[in-house]
């Protein structure tokens, strides 16, 4: 295992300290329990939004704390949901009296820990709602499973709900917008290489020099099938198919296309992927009117990418375009 770390036990704390120091104009970090909030939190009268989950997915979520997006983020241990304490502490720190929305990726651990924290916050008189994101079409959604995972589409939920909260929507409205985005976004990923969790020291799985893993999650959990390496265009078609068929997206739809790097894939490759994905959508009459290409929801140093497609309407487009000022996403101010 070759990593730029000191003690594996200190990865999250040291990284958080570096992040907070590099972005002290935007955020403030608290330790023990660990959380990050906007430098000027709480904002009186504004609905606050927090998200969180295991670390190792940076910039998710702390990189999205700031004006127009999240009010706080709660980083757990690497790939491990945070416990209720820091979630509660962050909820208290951001509450401006208008309620707090928890955006939670659908993993058993995240859901349970956020639930407990929400119960504790409610007991202290804070109104809390939760939206559980589950955009990953690689996983069968059924009553008999833990359901779909929340993956890169979560970033779009956070941005758009964040814009709604920033313009002054109330808790019901912000929650509804977040649910709408989650309902209209679908994602799927692929890995060319595994990742190594610092405390494990071993790759999450092994892939031969000519193999890739289709339907990969963002924790190095194995995907739905393993195939031989293909040209980028063929891989794009392979994962775009299930995404488009799911809702389904249809000719005439306007969409946002997110090409998300898993952490170890260079930008030059992500743009090759973007080119063909946009081309394939266009051939189906689906118009890409907004796009985002980069490393936004990662799995440490994993090589690979995911595609997310979000159906846009005028309101979502306007909220997407609204100013945002965070470490990882910034425009308009």
């Amino acid at each position: 295992m070759k990593k730029l770390i000191n003690d594996p036990k200190n990865v999250v704390n040291e990284s958080l300290a570096g992040f907070a120091a590099a972005h002290s104009d935007l955020v403030r970090a608290e330790y023990d329990p660990n959380y990050v909030v906007r430098a000027d939190a709480p904002t009186a009268g504004k609905v606050a939004i927090i998200s969180g989950g295991g670390s190792g997915h940076e910039p998710l979520h702390a990189g999205f704390v700031g004006y127009g997006m999240l009010d706080g983020a709660v980083p757990g241990a690497v790939f491990t949901s945070p416990t209720p304490d820091p979630i509660l502490a962050a909820t208290q720190a951001v509450d401006g009296g208008a309620g707090v929305l928890h955006i939670v990726k659908n993993y058993t651990g995240d859901v349970l820990n956020f639930e407990t924290a929400a119960d504790l916050a409610a007991a202290e008189g804070i109104e809390v709602r939760a939206v559980v994101t589950n955009d990953d079409v690689a996983v069968k959604d059924s009553l008999y499973t833990a359901g779909r995972r929340g993956v890169a589409g979560t970033v779009l939920v956070e941005k758009i709900a964040g814009a709604a909260a920033q313009r002054g929507d109330d808790l019901d409205a912000v929650t509804a917008i977040a649910e709408k985005v989650n309902a209209q976004v679908r994602s799927m990923g692929v890995a060319l290489s595994p990742c190594i969790v610092p405390h494990a020291g071993e790759p999450s799985f092994t892939l031969a020099e000519d193999e890739i893993e289709i339907g990969i999650g963002i924790h190095g959990e194995p995907g739905r099938e393993r195939i031989k390496l293909e040209p980028a265009d063929a891989i794009v078609e392979r994962i775009l198919g299930p995404i488009v068929e799911d809702i389904p997206f249809a000719s005439g739809d306007k969409v946002l296309l997110l090409v998300n790097g898993m952490g170890g894939t260079p930008l030059v490759e992500l743009f090759i992927v973007y080119r063909h994905a946009a081309e394939v959508l266009a051939a189906q009459g689906i118009e890409v009117t907004r796009s985002l290409v980069g490393n936004y929801t990662t799995a440490l140093e994993m090589q690979g990418f995911s595609l997310s497609v979000l159906k846009l309407d005028d309101e979502l487009t306007e909220l997407w375009d609204a100013p945002v000022q965070t470490a990882a996403l910034r425009w308009g101010r």
Partner: protein, 212 residues
């Protein structure tokens, strides 16, 4: 011989030792069908629990110790295992109330409440390839042993043995809960890490009773 605070403390200390010992094994199980952190999570939790035992008063009850485990696991483990085991110990603590000593019926109540707490939070059934596949056979075995007049140590030994068998029995299953459920057929052939850690924790309980 009814089991008191010293058994409870011994159980918890033995739990910390066995989890530390099996940390890598549990990580490896979780790497195969999960995200490779179960051993790390459980170890972080029990390493936090053990030093806190010194804070308990001399007249503390087994329930007090179980509650300390519950709150510490909830606030240090995270992931799925944190809330699930945390709830288990919390419900177990409530079940044994303030009794200074636990007889066979109390031991069965403890195990049953723990299992029920996990089901309440996680909604898993037997056969879903989760820790419930170790807990439920353990509870069943404990009930049967108690009914046949076994001692507390014998009840726990029966529970531990059933949990271990239950963990092994998760291997051929497809998972319906937790991360392994994402894998479909590919989970077949791998043992559920939470069922395995459950088996180790119950073995620690039995060993502590044996030594009591």
């Amino acid at each position: 011989m009814a089991l008191g605070l010293s058994w409870t403390l011994d159980w918890i200390r033995r739990s910390g030792a066995v989890i530390a010992d099996k940390r890598v094994e549990l990580i490896t199980l979780d790497r195969a069908i999960g995200d490779g952190d179960h051993g790390e999570n459980m170890d972080r939790g029990f390493q936090a629990v053990v030093p806190k035992l010194a804070m308990l008063d001399d007249d503390a009850t087994p329930g007090d110790a179980l509650k300390l485990v519950a709150t510490t696991l909830i606030s240090t483990v995270g992931g799925a295992a944190g809330p699930l085991f945390g709830t288990a110990y919390l419900k177990a603590a409530i079940a044994v109330g303030s009794a200074p000593e636990l007889d066979g019926a109390a031991v069965v109540a403890l195990l049953t409440a723990a299992r029920d707490g996990i089901v309440l939070r996680g909604k898993a059934e037997v056969g879903d390839k989760t820790m419930i596949d170790a807990w439920t056979p353990a509870v069943d075995a404990a009930v049967a042993a108690e009914a046949s007049g076994a001692s507390e140590a014998e009840i726990l030994a029966a529970a531990a043995e059933a949990a271990a068998a239950g963990a092994v029995a998760t291997e051929p299953l497809v998972a319906h809960k937790g991360r392994a459920s994402y894998l479909g057929e590919r989970a077949i052939g791998h043992r559920d890490p939470g069922a395995q850690s459950t088996a180790y924790l119950l073995q620690a309980a039995a060993d502590a009773a044996q030594a009591a």
